[in-house]
Amino acid sequence: MAQLDLTNVASGADSDAAREAIVDYIATQEHKGLLRFLTCGSVDDGKSTLIGRLLYDAKLIFEDQLSTLKSDSLRHGTDGENIDFALLVDGLEAEREQGITIDVAYRFFTTERRKFIVADTPGHEQYTRNMATGASTADLAVLLVDARNGIATQTRRHSFIASLLGIRNVVLAINKIDLVDYSEERFEEIRAEYEQFAASFEFDTLTAIPMSARFGDNVSSISERTPWYKGPSLIEHLETVEIGDTSRERPFRMAVQWVNRPNLDFRGYSGTLASGSVKPGDEVVVAASGITSKVDRIVTMNGDLSQAVAGDAVTLTLADNIDISRGDLLASAANRPEVSDQFAAHLIWMTEAPLLPGRPYLLKCGAKTVNATVTDLKHRIDINTFEHLAAKKLDLNEVAFCNLALSEPIAFDPYEANHDTGSFILIDRRTNATVAAGLIWFGLRRATNIHWQALDVDKAARSHLKGQKPAVLWFTGLSGSGKSTLANAVERKLLALGNHTYLLDGDNVRHGLNKDLGFTDADRVENIRRVGETARLFVDAGLIVLVSFISPFRSERRMARELVEDGEFLEVFVDTPLEECKKRDPKGLYKKAEAGEIKNFTGIDSPYEVPENAEIRVDTTEGAPDVVADRIIAELKARGIVT
């Protein structure tokens, strides 16, 4: 690794030439950039060994540490006579005894081109929390895999968390390549598998490197034992990889951390620019109040600046005397953040006591702390399969998509656009523990302060008058399975029997109530939520509601089910084989999807999760719609819904 060669300087540190060399060296050091990365992998993939080697190669292990290391290796080491580099980095006593790494540790090393801060995070199943912590400040992730084992469940999980936290640069370190005879074939196999699976994460760079952390192959220099490998060594890559940092190009944001008032003549606002840049004369807005002013000075101890940019810790004074306090977000008046007291966000739960919707927590976003509750746990995400699951609570290390309501509006940006103004933590009000990390997706501007009104005429009264038991008949199935035809037929028969009904059809609802929603996962969930809520209101009105919706995900159907009372929700699984649906293709959609013209089409490139306990299952290939509809009516009679 490139380091200043000081062997000559050592003997003559007082010669002028040597001094000059040092001054030059320090000058170049000052202009070095900084790269923060995190390492992750399953236990024993060789993370600690790799970091130990990076530090060793950077000559940062001084001799006395090395001798401690040698004696430690004899005591704890798993590596016989050799130095076990892992011991250099496994810090705390308890975990050394157990031989595992259990917390995030930060390491530092420097090369000629960059200074590095490494977040070392453990691979244990239960430590999502630590990895998210390390990832929150990292520019890049090094994912280790053991060449013998290939892509493991943990690799998938770590990729997901890295991507969730917004890491856009990934190194796939295919380690222990020595144990597979430096095989190119094996390397390519793992690389291909990973690339395929990681495609959806949209990383900006993904670099696979064959490596032996233990023997140093392709760590700081290219190894002769992998002549087939034409890429960079790990260090070379880390020194040169471009981190697409666009924070300066984005709109100006600065949270006021501290109001600076040394005397009556000076009133400044101290904070760090989260993004963008600002100059004296620029128009800025206090986001939450909407009051604007112009920047007067940018004050620092080294003199006033003509411009401050993202990352700078400065003090601003404004042209007008306006009311600003700690926690306010100053922003570009031309490009303002969202302001809302409700938003949708991903939560990573970080403590033993589970998250319960409705329980109040403290929420800290930037320099602002407010009260917050999770009003709606929309779904939990299985971080191994990325499946969306229904959830009523959230346990340690689980990730969920939620709506939160705050005690007052705050200013924020989506996390994607700004990690600093789009992130928050939740704090338990009793224990003061940090219980969750949050990533904001979008603000929700729903009516606030609208409470349920208690009414004299209730559901029982309304349905009694209609001589029926209210219910939701939820028709689910593939596109073209016959849901709508069937729902129609059932409704006609119910009408004929004197029942009061209403039919909600997926396609029709999308033209009105849900016309603002697209087909992203979040929109699909919101789509179902609205339909579920509407069905609930109609049930409350005493009606028999027929819903005809593909609704491919179990979690969503469960969500709709949970909105109404037990026994009121009947899932009707229209189980027509995919081949038959394709053959029918009444709207020509399958043809388009197969041609790649429609994305995320259920049954083609998006899954349909078959209902496990549908109340009613029908197969439309078994008879005419009328016949099948009769079967459903019979079932409703048997359940006492109609007479």
């Binding site: 300087v9 540190a13 001094r19 950039g33 951390q257 101290s270 760090t272 992130s423």
Partner: protein, 301 residues
């Protein structure tokens, strides 16, 4: 020399200032522990920057074991006066009364005059946050230290019960009696510290520079006879040698190194070729490598 916008030193400076401001804004009674060493000098300089044109809204506190180098004490008093900052000096008066000293009492001395003294002072003034100049690169057990390190009401540190720190968001909530130690220099290395001192022209105690000083050699370590309290063995007379200190503490416990480095660039060059790490000059660390962790659990800073 002014710092390049994109340099790693500027990024470190920005990060530290954000941390220092956050502590000042969130806690009702913070204090900055000032050990007079180079790291403290950098931390103090950053605090001056963080609040400019105001003064830092907290006092400095020095835990004086009464065995510090005289030049340190001089430097401490001059610095506080020059910057116009309140300085609290606290010593364990029980320890002074019982004549607890580094020669007769070994690690009990450290415990009494440093650990106990610190706890006494924190309790006496009711500080709920104390800045320290520790860096993560100093020692293995520090690598996992948080920036806001949570301490129980008995000042204990539980490595299993530290709060996760994400982004630049620090949880500053403490119950009555509990406190935090805040480490704004967490991500700095020793080299960064020296480079920054050079770039920002920060004053440091002259003991860091080589000069002829009276020393005795014991077990291969050079100990400076800073005053007449150093007990001399029969036949031992302090000899002037060209020495300097890589780290500063209590003079009987801090070994000097032979050196000709009289300027900052020379110090940095010595550091870069050093084959012994910083803390080995401090005698308290001679035991096991995990000893620091034990000390922290007991409340040593």
């Amino acid at each position: 020399m002014s710092l390049d916008r994109t340099s790693h030193l500027k990024r470190l400076e920005n990060e530290s200032i954000q941390i220092i401001r956050e502590v000042a804004a969130e806690f009702s009674n913070p204090v900055m522990l000032y050990s007079i060493g180079k790291d403290s000098s950098v931390m103090l300089h950053l605090a001056m920057k963080a609040f400019y044109p105001s003064k830092p809204p907290f006092p400095l506190m020095h835990i004086d074991t009464t065995w510090k180098f005289r030049e340190m004490i001089q430097f401490r008093d001059d610095t506080a006066k020059q910057l116009g900052i309140d300085l609290i000096v606290h010593s364990n008066t029980d320890g002074i009364r019982d004549n607890i000293n580094p020669f007769d009492h070994g690690s009990f001395y450290t415990h009494t005059m440093k650990t106990d003294a610190l706890k006494q002072a924190l309790d006496k003034y009711g500080f709920d946050a104390a800045f320290g100049g520790a860096r993560r690169d100093e020692e293995k057990s520090r690598a996992k230290e948080r920036v806001f390190s949570f301490r129980s009401s008995s000042h204990g540190w539980d490595p299993k019960n530290q709060r996760p720190e994400l982004w630049h968001l620090y949880n500053a909530r403490v119950a009555k009696g509990e406190s935090i130690r805040a480490f704004p220099l967490s991500n700095w290395t020793e080299l960064d510290i020296w480079q920054y001192i050079l770039a920002e022209d920060i004053p440091i105690v002259p003991l860091y520079f080589a000069a002829p000083r009276p020393v005795v050699e014991r077990d291969g370590l050079l100990i400076m006879a800073d005053d007449e309290r150093l007990p001399l063995n029969p036949g031992e007379t302090p000899q002037p040698r060209m020495v300097r200190f890589r780290t500063l503490g209590c003079y009987p416990l801090t070994a000097a190194i032979e050196s000709d480095a009289t300027t900052l660039p020379e110090i940095v060059s010595e550091m870069l070729i050093a084959r012994t790490s910083e803390r080995s000059g401090r005698l308290i660390d001679k035991d096991e490598s995990a000893s620091m962790e034990k000390k922290k659990r007991e409340g040593y800073f």
